[in-house]
């Protein structure tokens, strides 16, 4: 299903940045469902360090939108209890790099509550967290920990790449009865960054995916989008890498079919398999560290389902297996040049 087609079915609401789109999703859901509450560090009066919740406390009151102590374990643990009561909490972890104290509450509690109680209790919670680098955040404000979540059964892991998807997927996440990890590539908050860090920022208003309806709509979880149709090779990407992969296609002239996975797990496997069977070549791209990363799972799935259609080895472009560096950020962030080289190898193979 293409993001463009979905967009045309909706009444236009004007250009939004990803921040505005995320805020709009929470605004819509707070208004529609009085079981929705939003809380986290700095999200109340101030509206969040990235401003995603700005104005929501003033609109919905401080018992619906409020600040939390600096305790990720407490934020998620309290959300699990609220979910068990019947609320739909949307919590913010200020940076994905800070979720680790909440690991037990995510992995052992939220993810398994439905299973262990046979549906007696559930945790329909959404855990938002800005992720990824490209903002000179160093090793504690740049991580992409998605593989730590996709390995956990019972949770869904989602990562949008543009304002339209961000709103539709966040609404779907809030409405979902399973716990959802909602990763927001913070480098994309204000524009479709393509990895050319030395060029001026392109604002979202110049991209069609900023055309976001004001009202309610949702994008089904477990559905990928063919972001750029193509015939030469299939690119499996998500989050901050989608526009990098698009730039690499432009720069190489390779007619890449770029699939924006959007939901990382559970995954839209049929869209991937159909594309790879069509192109016979596959490049997997993510910003996170390489070894035992989510890309390894993608490579394994493509191999299992498309082996006899492959005409070249599957390529992987990823961050290095190091902590995210500060000064050396642009040597770490997988940019268009590295992706372009992978396209060429895949085409030669």
């Amino acid at each position: 299903m293409s993001a463009t087609n979905e967009r045309h079915r909706q009444k236009a609401g004007g250009p939004m940045t990803m921040i505005q789109a995320l805020r709009s999703a929470m605004d819509v859901m707070l208004a529609r469902d009085d079981n929705v509450v939003v809380f986290g560090q700095d999200v109340g009066y101030f509206g969040g360090v990235f401003r995603c919740t700005e104005g929501l406390q003033a609109k919905f009151g401080s018992s619906r939108v409020f600040d939390a102590p600096i305790s990720e374990g407490g934020i998620v643990g309290a959300a699990v209890g609220m979910g068990a009561y019947g609320l739909r909490p949307v919590v913010e972890i200020q940076f994905a790099d800070y979720f680790y104290p909440a690991s037990d509450q995510i992995v052992s509690e939220a993810a398994r509550l439905r299973y262990r109680s046979v549906g007696d209790f559930t945790a329909p919670i959404t855990i938002r967290m800005p992720c990824g680098g490209g903002i000179y955040g160093g090793q504690t404000h740049s991580q992409s920990p998605e593989a730590l979540f996709t390995h956990v059964c019972g949770i869904r892991t989602v990562m949008p790449s543009n304002p339209y998807d961000a709103k539709g997927l966040l609404i779907a996440a809030i409405e979902c009865d399973d716990p959802v990890i909602f990763l927001e590539p913070k480098r994309l908050y204000n524009g479709p960054f393509d990895g050319h860090h030395d060029r001026p920022l392109v604002p979202w208003s110049q991209h069609p995916a900023s055309d976001v309806p004001e009202g309610h709509y949702s994008i089904p979880l477990e559905s990928a989008a063919v972001y750029r149709p193509g015939s030469d090779l299939t690119v499996l990407a998500y989050g901050s890498m989608v526009f990098v992969c698009e730039a690499a296609a432009k720069e190489t002239g390779v007619d890449a079919e770029i699939i924006d996975l959007r939901s990382l797990w559970p995954l839209d496997l049929p869209t991937i398999v159909a594309s790879v069977k069509k192109t016979g070549r596959c490049v997997v791209v993510h910003e996170a560290t390489r070894s035992t990363g989510f890309g390894a799972e993608l490579v394994a799935l493509v191999q299992e389902h498309c082996f006899y259609h492959l005409e070249a080895p599957i390529e992987r472009v990823t961050g290095w297996d190091t902590p995210y560096p500060h000064a050396q950020e642009w040597a770490y962030f997988p940019g268009p040049a590295r992706v372009a080289a992978a396209y060429r190898r895949a085409m030669e193979g």
């Binding site: 643990g77 309290a78 209890g81 262990r116 046979v118």
Partner: protein
């Protein structure tokens, strides 16, 4: 070398070990009736003294004394005594069933029966407990949870309501106000606070009751729960069951030496009580006090219940390896069943003969329930829930990859059979 003595690490030790009698003076007990009973709207800081003393109602002669003595209600107390007896008899039978391999594992609450059963009587329908694995008394104090159903869970049989997914005793009974037991320690403590916050957000009148042992108070979730409960003035009772032992770890290793667990609460701005957990009347009175505070928007109350884990931690544990074998007999707060029985006989509401006949009657009920449960199978005879149920409830709807894996398992099972 400096002129000071060399530094040395302090590692707390219990006073008693196998072959060496425990000196229970570390408990700092107060006489029954001595602790004051403040009004429910007391400022949390004004409960500081109550976090270091001990609220007790029953004296050595079984009389109810002092300001915490609840209004006389002999029929309720008889109900409580029967609930404690039921819990003890249930535990004893299930220990035997475990030795017979009908159950893989069991955890009894011998010696701690008063805490959960009296607390259950202080709560209202719709309130939610977030228990540990030693609060089966919360369920056994109720009339609406059939023992045979609990036993089906313990036996992981075809009627196990949890479909064989959970270790024995990790019950879940939403309708009985009993949150699913995790098995990971302390996680439920902050969840209870979240549940209470949700009740407050919705303007409900239900309260939460959180449970934790002395050992697990060392986990971050305990401290987080105290912070959140205080910050949002959550309608929650924060119960710390100090039964002195976390498997082989004495409560001093959890941080109980020369202070109390109740004192943690006062430090966080939470009204706190330290209560004789083997005194049914004290448990009832303190639980009611805390419940009234929670239900009146007065915020959380932390209660440290002093008791003693009379049995092994679980059926996998042998406490004679690390503590005196006769410790419980010498524990100064005694046996909660014997103490309430003495009180009820003293006020003319009970007799030895009634006690004996109640015991026999409950034993017969437990045996009948076990027979009923075993008719649906035990872990020993392989009448376990269907394998396919392993894949259900991971998500609300089964995603394609789990459907594929279920189909693969079924193919492999058929292959093995053929």
């Amino acid at each position: 070398m400096s002129e000071h003595e060399r530094l040395r690490l302090h590692v707390p030790e219990p006073t008693g070990r196998p072959g060496c009698e425990t000196d229970f003076s570390y408990l700092h007990l107060s006489p029954a009736g001595e602790a004051r009973r403040p009004p429910v709207d007391v400022a949390p800081v004004e409960t500081s003294d109550l976090a270091y003393t001990l609220v007790r109602v029953l004296d050595e002669q079984g009389r109810a004394v002092g300001p915490w003595a609840p209004p006389s209600d002999p029929s309720l107390l008889v109900r409580g005594l029967r609930a404690m007896l039921k819990t003890r008899i249930f535990d004893a039978r299930m220990l035997i069933a475990q030795r017979q391999k009908k159950i893989s594992f069991y955890m009894q609450c011998l010696g701690e029966e008063a805490i959960a059963t009296a607390h259950a009587l202080a709560l209202a329908d719709g309130d939610m407990c977030f228990p540990t694995y030693r609060q089966q008394g919360l369920l056994l104090a109720r009339d609406d949870v059939p023992m045979s159903q609990l036993m089906c869970q313990l036996m992981s049989n075809e009627r196990d309501p949890l479909k064989g997914r959970q270790l024995p005793v990790m019950y879940s009974y939403k309708r009985a106000g009993f949150f699913s037991i995790s098995g990971n320690l302390a996680t439920q403590f902050i969840q209870a606070v979240g549940w209470g916050m949700a009740s407050a957000i919705k303007g409900d009148d239900k309260i939460a009751s959180a449970w934790i042992g002395d050992g697990a108070t060392a986990e971050a979730d305990f401290h987080t729960a105290l912070t959140f409960a205080h910050v949002y003035r959550a309608p929650v009772i924060l119960n710390v069951v100090n039964n002195q032992w976390a498997i082989s770890t004495f409560q001093a290793i959890a941080g109980g030496e020369a202070t109390t667990f109740a004192a943690r609460g006062v430090g966080c701005g939470i009204a706190s009580l330290r209560v004789d957990g083997n005194d049914f009347l004290a448990v009832l009175a303190a639980s009611r006090w805390a419940a009234q505070r929670a239900r009146s928007n007065l915020g959380p109350t932390l209660i440290e219940w002093i008791t003693y884990r009379a049995g092994a931690h679980s059926t996998s544990d042998d406490p004679s390896r690390y503590r005196p074998a006769d410790d419980w007999k010498k524990f100064p707060l005694g046996d909660p069943i014997a103490r309430l029985k003495q009180h009820l006989i003293g006020i003319g509401a009970w007799s030895d003969a009634q006690h004996d006949s109640a015991q026999k009657e409950i034993e017969a009920e437990v045996i009948a329930a076990q027979k009923e449960a075993e008719s649906h199978g035990t872990l020993l005879d392989g009448h376990i829930p269907p394998l396919a149920s392993m894949f259900e409830d991971v998500y609300k709807e089964m995603p394609p990859h789990l459907k594929d894996q279920l189909a693969q398992l079924e193919r492999e099972q058929q292959g093995a059979a053929g």
